[in-house]
Symmetry: C2
């Protein structure tokens, strides 16, 4: 069955991104969805918490596993305003999540970084796609990338 | 300058692996080193904490960034008894660590999994090497793999 991503749900992820931005961090938001409903929210907290692992996706995934008291999240889907980095994709793989829906492409982050060299917001990237990682596992997460990309692209300008 | 890995330090990582095993988790240990001295210790807590992100390396890195109140760990080196997965390698990249020294190869984990199909310890792998990730960034962490591999290989049998 093909998964149909939900615009209202991605809008909530975008709200989390603006929340992170308001708190002084990168405008990146994520959330987990279970049974079609938002399960946990995650905002990027890398700068706020001085924690390089506190990407929005990791925040949302850790909350979900703490609530369920299980390190596995079968049936749970990850939304992110930005295509997940290898750290976050790997966390979703380890957690046996069903799939990942994301907004901007990793290339968008790299392009923004290159076109704004004097920005204090570096938008560093690890240029390895979620598909490459999943293809090198025995897991089979679905991937939908570029969902509501235009709306998510606006988040770069919110951190200028 | 070539980095010289330290056997005594790796022995402490191996101790952390046995500690994790004693607590009911995978026998994987890691630690961070600053100025030649052990800075933070990490044992694998994935099962203990129901947290798919609580790999030994992430535990050690997060402790280090909390102590320094900085998400960057320039001058800090990561030791792990097992070659880090893409999640942990990415965390080290995001943290701008100097390098990674590891014991067993990712291939050793995959081989163990395949040769012990009935084990309750799955040793799942994401078959993407640290070098591939680092080569796809602007960072330049050094990598030493297979350091004290024979001693670290014994850890698989501790979790039979």
């Amino acid at each position: 069955m093909e998964y149909k991503p939900d615009e209202q749900i991605m809008k909530e992820a975008i709200k989390m991104a603006y929340l992170a931005r308001g708190e002084g961090d990168y405008a990146i938001g994520a959330l987990t969805v279970r049974d079609g409903e938002i399960f946990t929210l995650g905002e990027n907290k890398v700068k706020i918490d001085n924690d390089p692992t506190a990407h929005a996706e990791i925040v949302a995934i850790r909350k979900a596993t703490q609530i369920t008291s299980s390190r596995h999240l079968e049936g749970v889907v990850l939304y992110s305003t930005h295509e997940p980095c290898p750290m976050c994709t790997s966390a979703a793989i380890w957690a046996k999540m069903d799939g990942i829906i994301s907004g901007t492409y990793i290339e968008d982050m790299a392009d923004y970084r290159k076109s704004h060299p004097s920005s204090q917001w570096l938008w560093r990237t690890i240029d390895v796609h979620p598909k490459y990682l999943i293809d090198n596992t025995e897991e089979n997460l679905f991937l939908i990338r570029g969902f509501m990309r235009d709306e998510c692209l606006k988040l770069f300008h919110s951190t200028q």
